[in-house]
């Protein structure tokens, strides 16, 4: 089967890479102090979960990123709808949107720490500034790309502004919003982890920063692995939701893979 063979290749590639890493580290071809080895990382991740010491950190990071994800998307979608439907406002705000988006968001972290303290609020704020623009630009684009013919047709059929929003603009923007959700998850995690890394008392970013502080490479990698799996799980959840809500879309892949 095509699907099975593909999976075997993918798994084989991963195992090959891990084996090569393990071998190189054990035989001293790379320095285990800086590069550690997969078996150590696996053991560390296992210990974190077995002793339960990772759960409070995982919880803090989850809360931060989910809040950032939710509010960033909410504000982004609302703002995107507003500007797309009020061209006059869009023209006025355009340079400001561009200017604010031009700020590398990481430099805001110290400001947010000063304003909102070392708790989760400063991390959420950082995540929101990242997620907001993704959701905003995608919603704006989605609404702008509604076909004028579809719009004229709906208006002639008696649609008022509320109808247009519910039956046309939002569904039209939905596929854009969903593709932005998947990007946003990554950004929400960046916001949370970078925020934690720069100053906090809990969270996966804090865990990684602690490990780095004592040259514990295994700890840094273990933190990365936990984060990666965490994001993949969320991404799969959004993907499943997307398939349910966007069932009307033609399948571009045509059944392959």
């Amino acid at each position: 089967m095509q699907g099975l063979r593909l999976r075997l290749w993918q798994i084989g590639l991963l195992l090959g890479f891990l084996a090569l890493w393990e071998w190189a580290s054990r035989t001293g071809r790379i320095d285990p102090f800086f590069f550690t080895k997969p078996s150590d990382i696996a053991a560390r991740v296992w210990r974190w979960f077995a002793t339960g010491e990772v759960y409070p950190h995982l919880y803090v990071t989850s809360v931060e990123m989910l809040l950032a994800f939710f509010f960033g998307t909410l504000f982004g979608v609302l703002m995107g709808l507003w500007l797309a439907l009020s061209p006059a406002v869009a023209v006025v705000l355009d340079p400001y949107v561009k200017a604010i988006n031009a700020i590398p968001r990481v430099v805001l972290a110290p400001i947010f720490t000063l304003w909102f303290g070392l708790g989760i609020l400063s991390k959420v704020a950082l995540g929101v500034t990242l997620v907001f623009f993704v959701a905003f630009f995608n919603t704006y684009q989605g609404v702008k790309e509604v076909s004028p013919v579809v719009l004229a047709n709906a208006r002639l059929l008696g649609a008022r502004q509320g109808h247009l929003l519910r039956h046309i603009y939002l569904p039209a923007a939905a596929s854009w919003i969903f593709s932005s959700l998947r990007t946003s998850i990554g950004f929400a995690v960046i916001g949370a982890v970078v925020g934690e890394y720069l100053g906090s008392a809990a969270g996966l970013g804090y865990l990684i920063a602690q490990a780095e502080g004592v040259f514990d490479t295994t700890g840094v990698f273990a933190g990365m692995v936990v984060l990666m799996v965490f994001v993949l799980v969320l991404d799969a959840l959004v993907g499943a939701l997307e398939r349910r809500l966007l069932a009307w879309r033609p399948r571009a892949e045509g059944g392959k893979v």
Binding site: A152, A154, A159, R160, R249
Partner: protein
């Protein structure tokens, strides 16, 4: 041109439309009686669609006015249904919900709207496919959904902009017959734009020929006294049809040549 009083369902009175310095149509006078099926033919770029957009209230004329049953049209035309050249149904709604949409806009409950929509889908021959999304339907089926969607709103005036031009010949003739059958039921006023003279004659009570753009306007009116009900495939072979076709083509050919020379 027919009389300019009273019973006209829609009347263009000295309508001109220009886009910047380009004058698309100029000084258009045209009346369509209630229940009349009028085809507008003309070379490409002669402003046929522009006139429909003006009639729908989507495009305000630069000068002149449109009278609806004697009253000047302001804003969107509330009694018009518009079947566009491109698909205008919503890709994220099923065939059934697309047809139900105009009723939903009017505040009809979803259950009742769907019931009535299903009856309309059956009328256009799609009663077995209510749950399919537009991308799962063929081009002809999507046109049927569009037609049902427009007709369920019960417009007095039906505006059609080359609605079948993207379909293959067989599907197209099926759709034309379907349209005539539905029209026969309650004889709405129809303004049908096409560049296909045969289609124009086969469907209409009257064919109006527009001159080549820019500054295009109606130049001649041809009544089509062919008997109804008609079968669009068969009627094309009758001597009367061929005579009308020759007569109108005589005039239209000159405009087509002018349009090409201009372009």
């Amino acid at each position: 041109m027919s009389d300019f009083v009273g019973k006209d369902a829609i009347k263009f009175y000295r309508v001109s439309v220009s886009f910047g310095s380009y004058s698309a149509v100029e000084g258009v006078n045209l009346s369509v009686r209630a229940g009349e099926f009028v085809s507008l033919v003309g070379p490409t770029g002669c402003g046929k669609s522009t006139l429909l957009n003006v009639a729908a209230g989507l495009l305000p004329p630069s000068s002149g006015e449109v009278l609806l049953e004697g009253r000047p049209l302001k804003g969107l035309n509330p009694v018009a249904g518009y079947l566009f050249q491109q698909d205008a149904i919503l890709p994220w709604k099923t065939a059934l919900d697309n047809v139900a949409l105009p009723l939903v806009f009017r505040g009809v409950g979803l259950r009742e709207a769907r019931e009535r929509a299903l009856a309309w889908l059956e009328k256009v021959g799609l009663g077995r496919f209510p749950r399919l999304f537009p991308h799962q339907l063929s081009g002809g089926m999507r046109k049927r959904v569009g037609l049902a969607q427009v007709l369920i709103a019960d417009p007095h005036l039906l505006l059609m902009d080359e609605p079948f031009s993207a379909l293959d010949v067989q599907t197209r003739q099926l759709m034309e017959n379907e349209l005539l059958r539905l029209w026969q039921e309650d004889r709405k006023t129809v303004l049908f734009v096409t560049h296909d003279l045969e289609e124009a004659i086969a469907l209409a009570d009257r064919v109006v020929v527009l001159s080549a753009g820019p500054r295009s306007r109606p130049i001649e009116d041809f009544p089509i006294p062919l008997p109804r009900p008609r079968d669009v495939a068969e009627i094309r072979l009758t001597p009367e049809f061929l005579r009308l076709h020759r007569e109108i083509w005589e005039l239209l050919r000159g405009e087509v040549i002018r349009a090409h020379a201009g372009a």
